[in-house]
């Protein structure tokens, strides 16, 4: 096993280096044989990476503690699913996962006969450079197949916090997003090297970019869900540097997904789109650098290695390379673009949307790096925590929501102001009525009310747009409402998929604003049989039990719950003491309904008859997960949908007629 694993890693370096050189020679000599050989190299690389990945799964699953990695992250008692999930629990496994995914993505690109073109050798060369870097780092610094000096009887086990379904999915989805962004980056650089300044690279990579964005969305959502269930502090997003690192490329790719439409339609913003995709890719490396280097304090970081330096050097190299390529082709990029025809157009509104998203990126990046900047310049350590980000990001996100409400109502080229006002009136009126109802109900908090009103406005606009589209189709085709709605979506999946994503964001915004503004936290010490009231809930502490399971000591509190005077079942918050882990952890008890979550943590106890609980009422948190699911559905619809939108086809034909 040791030999196979290490040979596979060394073969990885040799093959990726060979394929890279073969591509370069093939391109220089214009020799198809070399290019064909490089293609073969990429395929064998995917095979070798698959062997390494399978091998790591195998030694983890069969608890082969002679391997350092297996002994460090698993033990005999660990359920098989978490033994396998330990693949990405440490540095070495995470790097292998990254390499494996990148090799598979590269093989898919090289194998895809439909999309074969002259860009492929350049694209595969850029991706091979990435793969080569990961293999070198693994062999020099983080070998997953390293042996232990003596074979331990049992391993150290997996951090109990990571033993949650969320952590089985969260790192994989995030990595799939990160790795996926290498593909549009490679296409963009390839287009630049080949001096092809049209939007072809964007069309070829639209699905790759959207898929990467989908996985980034999923990764962030699942991460938030895991934090909420497992960490016991009652929140889902702490603005931790590592969380921010995965949020940054999500923001820039969101901007790119909008601005690429302008390049597709008007051949504009070429430099901007290139910069966005380069920035997104660099931010994925930056995120990995943050996680691996431990330069910033974070609950997620793997600060016990010097991998950060490798990533810093590679990030600097790729950034300088990208800047050089853009700078040397700048004159070509600038030419041949069409002007915007009116300030009041979708093009302008997309530019504003990009501006807000990049401002958000800057604010998150600056806040994340500020402790380091401050310490370097002034020598004073300063923290930038959640309250800072909440204050800075709230107005930015509010403007973004407002733009999301307005943009769908503005037409391409030149919008008509009267029609815009006419279409805005009903959604806006409904949102104002909603705000008045909130105030009349005695809801406090002016900022939260403003935020919710804008969100409702945005939600209404999208519903109204879908309604108008369906009615228009009904009028033209005499179809029933459901059929017309279905066909309308089918005919323009890109647009309506996007609308569903926006609706998902509106639902998430309701959850985020409400849970931040109106959550309630109480700490109570109660005796057995004693009841207490929190919000609409009445909780009765019944008993404290203690059991031993899988080598862990588990203390459970049993509590009866009444909601608005009616019996609502029981809850069982737990505290777990691990045999193989020094820190105990809390198993939170959550009761969810449509409008709020009851979140109970067993804090401590004096005796079996007296215990202390931390109870939180978190309004609308379930909406965040529901909105996330809707976002994924919307993205999937847009992903499956057509390559170009209807208006783009009209534009192309009009251009054809004029020509």
């Amino acid at each position: 096993m040791y030999l196979i694993g290490n040979i596979a890693l060394i073969l990885g370096i040799v093959i990726s280096l060979y394929a890279l050189i073969a591509n370069i020679i093939g391109l220089k000599r214009k020799d198809e044989r070399w290019l064909e050989s490089a293609r073969g190299g990429v395929l064998s690389l995917a095979f070798v990476a698959s062997i390494s990945a399978f091998l790591l799964f195998y030694i983890l699953g069969t608890s082969q503690f002679q391997f350092q990695y297996v002994a460090s992250y698993t033990n005999n008692e660990l359920p098989i699913i978490y033994k396998l999930a330990a693949f990405w629990a440490g540095n070495a496994g995470s790097l292998l996962l990254w390499t494996f995914l990148l090799s598979i993505y590269t093989a898919i690109i090289v194998l895809n006969k439909k999309k074969q073109n002259k860009m492929i050798p350049y694209v595969s060369s850029i991706l091979l450079t990435n793969i080569l870097f990961f293999y070198i780092v693994m062999v020099l610094n983080a070998n997953p197949f390293e042996m232990t000096d003596t074979i331990p009887l049992d391993g150290k086990g997996l951090n109990p916090m990571l033993q949650n379904p969320g952590m089985v999915l969260h790192p994989v989805t995030l990595y799939m997003g990160y790795v996926g962004l290498a593909v549009p980056f490679a296409y963009a650089i390839a287009a630049l090297i080949m001096k092809r300044m049209d939007a072809e690279w964007i069309k070829l990579t639209r699905r790759w970019t959207l898929t990467a964005w989908l996985f980034l969305t999923l990764g962030n959502m699942i991460g938030g869900w895991w934090a909420y269930l497992e960490l016991g502090w009652g929140g889902y997003w702490a603005w931790d540097p590592v969380e921010n690192a995965s949020f940054l490329p999500w923001l820039t790719v969101s901007a790119f997904l909008h601005s690429m439409m302008i390049q597709e339609r008007k051949n504009m913003l070429k430099t901007w789109n290139l910069s966005l995709i380069i920035l997104s890719y660099i931010l994925t490396l930056f995120g990995t650098f943050l996680v691996r280097s431990g330069i910033l304090t974070s609950v997620h970081s793997f600060g016990d290695s010097n991998l950060g330096s490798y990533f810093l050097i590679f990030m600097a190299f790729m950034m300088l390379f990208a800047i050089y390529v853009v700078a040397t082709r700048y004159q070509l990029i600038k030419s041949d673009s069409k002007p915007i025809e009116s300030y009041f157009s979708k093009e302008s509104s997309f530019l504003l949307n990009n501006f807000i998203l990049i401002t958000a990126t800057f604010a998150v990046f600056f806040g994340t790096m500020y402790p380091l900047i401050s310490e370097t310049i002034t020598g004073t350590k300063v923290n930038v925590g959640a309250p800072y980000f909440n204050k800075v990001m709230a107005p930015i996100m509010l403007v973004l929501l407002l733009l999301m409400a307005i943009c769908p109502l503005i037409s391409w080229q030149k919008a008509v102001f009267d029609r815009f006002i006419r279409n805005t009136l009903i959604p806006l009126f409904a949102a104002i009525v909603f705000a008045i109802i909130l105030v009349l109900m005695g809801i406090k908090g002016i900022y939260a009310i403003i935020g919710l009103t804008v969100t409702v406005f945005m939600f209404n606009v999208h519903l109204a747009e879908i309604w108008r589209g369906t009615r228009a189709r009904q009028k033209a085709t005499k179809e029933g409402f459901i059929k017309a709605l279905f066909r309308l979506t089918r005919k323009n999946q890109r647009r309506y998929g996007g609308y569903i994503v926006h609706i998902g964001i509106a639902i998430i915004a309701v959850g985020v604003i409400s849970s931040n503004a109106y959550s309630e936290e109480v700490m109570k010490t109660v005796g057995q049989g004693e009841s207490f009231q929190v919000g609409h809930y009445e909780l009765t502490f019944k008993e404290l039990t203690e059991i031993e399971k899988n080598g862990n000591g588990i203390v459970t509190a049993n509590m009866d719950v009444n909601y608005k005077g009616k019996r609502n079942g029981t809850i069982h918050p737990e505290k777990i003491f691990y045999g193989t882990w020094p820190e105990p952890s809390s198993e939170v008890a959550i009761k969810t309904n449509l409008t709020e979550d009851l979140y109970v943590v067993l804090s401590s106890w004096e005796s079996k008859e007296k215990a202390t609980f931390v109870i939180k009422i978190n309004p609308f948190v379930s909406w965040i997960w529901a909105g996330g699911i809707l976002m994924v559905i919307g993205t999937a619809i847009a992903l499956i949908g057509g390559k170009t939108s209807a208006a783009f086809r009209i534009g192309s034909r009009q251009r054809g007629v004029r020509a």
Binding site: P339, V384, Q413, G469
Partner: protein, 173 residues
């Protein structure tokens, strides 16, 4: 047989560790202090605790974080001694510097952290404003008839017409 006895040994030691921790935790009781004027549910207490970084433990689970518990007890004690929010926060800043708080100060060098995003926003707004102005061209009158026609047709209607044409085109050609 040998395997079984080893497992039993491991289980016994685990149970022993768990029991020690349980006893330790129950001795270090952290029940809500209600003797003083303030307790963990007081608004004043929450306001102070939300501003403290607690040496990076602010977002940890209170029930399992020993450092967070120490901070909670210290703040309650200080409040019940009659200290104000400002005095308590200042005492932590005196001890740990600005790093005691979760946000940068709103004066001195900390101000940069607050101003920079606003500055970035303004700078971005100027650049985007200039960009839109540069990219926007007044239209020629010759193109007006086509665009006037377009202006009277909404995006959705345009799409429906396009779809109908497309279906008809497919049918006949």
């Amino acid at each position: 047989m040998k395997e079984l006895s080893r497992r039993q040994m491991i289980k016994c030691s685990l149970a022993a560790i768990a029991s020690i921790i349980l006893i330790d935790l129950s001795m270090n009781d952290n029940s809500v202090k209600a003797n003083g004027k303030y307790d963990y549910n007081s608004k004043e207490f929450k306001s102070i605790i939300n501003q403290l970084d607690m040496q990076g433990h602010a977002d940890h689970d209170y029930s399992t974080c020993s450092i967070k518990k120490v901070y909670y007890e210290e703040v309650i004690e200080a409040l019940n001694q009659g200290k104000s929010e400002k005095e308590i926060l200042q005492s932590y800043v005196d001890e740990y510097g600005q790093a005691a708080l979760r946000t940068p100060a709103t004066e001195g060098s900390g101000l940069i952290a607050w101003i920079a995003p606003a500055f970035g926003f303004l700078l971005g707004a100027i650049i985007v404003g200039y960009g839109i102005k540069r990219l926007t061209k007044k239209k020629d009158c010759t193109d007006d008839h086509l665009d006037a026609e377009e202006m009277n047709v909404s995006e959705t209607e345009k799409e429906i017409i396009e779809q109908t044409f497309e279906e008809e085109r497919k049918k006949y050609f």
